[in-house]
């Protein structure tokens, strides 16, 4: 690999960061974009697609776009707001989100919530359900095209009675639960959702790489990867600065 142009290098740095660690998807607040694999990324206003996936016991959990019916655990219903929690069993934020959805469901019993694992096997999903005492069905889409298109970013979708995505978010922060409540109340009252996303979004191709100011894992001393100036400069724990042409970075859960 030979890199010399700093502009090109920064673009490369962004691309690689996306590819290796965070994927690429929109927050839904702007025009449709493509993901790094070239698939169309889901966005508010899109029809939520039909699916039928097994739960950890092999029972089918399904949503039918044609009649907007959700079927699980011997129940077939239509609902003013269908919430889809797409998760990975070993993801801490997903676990927090599942607990928050259990509370949401308690306050808004007209909702239907489904969890769909986009990674992990039946045993991992069963443990997730057991550990969190999840009160909604969990399906397993691991390895499917659906998971690749609709699972990137551990998203949450709230689908309205027309079968359209009214709200979506990537990842989870506790404040998101306030937005869900607002959207649920709107949809239950037959109003359009007043908010369509959390405003949080994943990096995408062409984004500026954020500067990183974090401690060194080993000794806790401060490190900095500076991209603010349009160049990549790394300041080590000893204070020395070194310029780089490109970078590859990723989040590691080990």
């Amino acid at each position: 690999m030979h890199v010399s142009s700093s502009g090109l290098a920064l673009a490369l740095a962004n691309i690689i960061l996306l590819f290796t660690c965070v994927g690429c998807a929109p927050d839904g607040s702007s025009a449709r974009r493509t993901t790094t694999r070239g698939d169309k990324a889901p966005a508010p206003g899109d029809a939520f697609p039909s699916f039928a996936f097994p739960d950890d016991g092999g029972n089918l959990v399904s949503w039918a776009t044609e009649d907007r019916a959700f079927e699980a655990v011997n129940e077939r219903t239509q609902t003013p707001a269908f919430v889809v929690h797409v998760f990975q069993p070993d993801c801490g934020a997903c676990r927090d989100e599942a607990a928050a959805l259990v509370s949401l469901l308690r306050e808004h019993p007209s909702l239907r919530v489904v969890g769909i694992a986009h990674r992990g096997d039946a045993a991992a999903v069963a443990a997730y359900e057991r550990d969190l005492d999840v009160s909604f069905p969990l399906a397993i889409a691991t390895g499917t095209d659906w998971a690749r298109t609709w699972g990137r970013g551990d998203p949450t979708y709230i689908v309205d009675r027309r079968g359209r995505i009214a709200y979506m978010q990537m990842g989870f922060e506790p404040a998101d639960a306030l937005l869900w409540r607002s959207v649920a109340s709107d949809l239950e009252a037959g109003r359009p959702a007043s908010v369509s996303g959390s405003g949080r979004r994943m990096l995408k191709v062409g984004d500026k790489l954020p500067s990183i100011d974090l401690p060194d894992l080993a000794d806790g001393r401060p490190l900095r990867l500076d991209s603010d100036s349009g160049r990549l400069v790394f300041r080590d724990t000893d204070g020395r600065e070194r310029p780089y042409s490109a970078s590859i970075g990723f989040f590691s859960r080990y």
Binding site: V22, G171, R200, P210, S245
Partner: protein, 58 residues
């Protein structure tokens, strides 16, 4: 992590900066695993950071 160690060794001199941002509930375990994998590129401690909350999902 191990695969990128080879990238680090091959291209660091040519200007490629390889790094990881560790997101792990047990920092000492993250250090142990990093050492076990013989990682010599930069590993930031990102657990609980704004960067993690904003970007570490997928």
């Amino acid at each position: 992590m191990v695969h990128l160690q080879r990238f680090h060794e091959a291209y660091e001199r040519e200007g490629l900066f390889v790094y990881a941002i560790a997101v792990h509930e047990d920092r000492s375990e993250a250090i142990r695993l990093t050492n076990e994998m013989k990682i010599t590129y930069t590993v930031f401690d990102g657990t609980g950071s704004t960067l993690q909350k904003r970007y570490a999902y997928g």
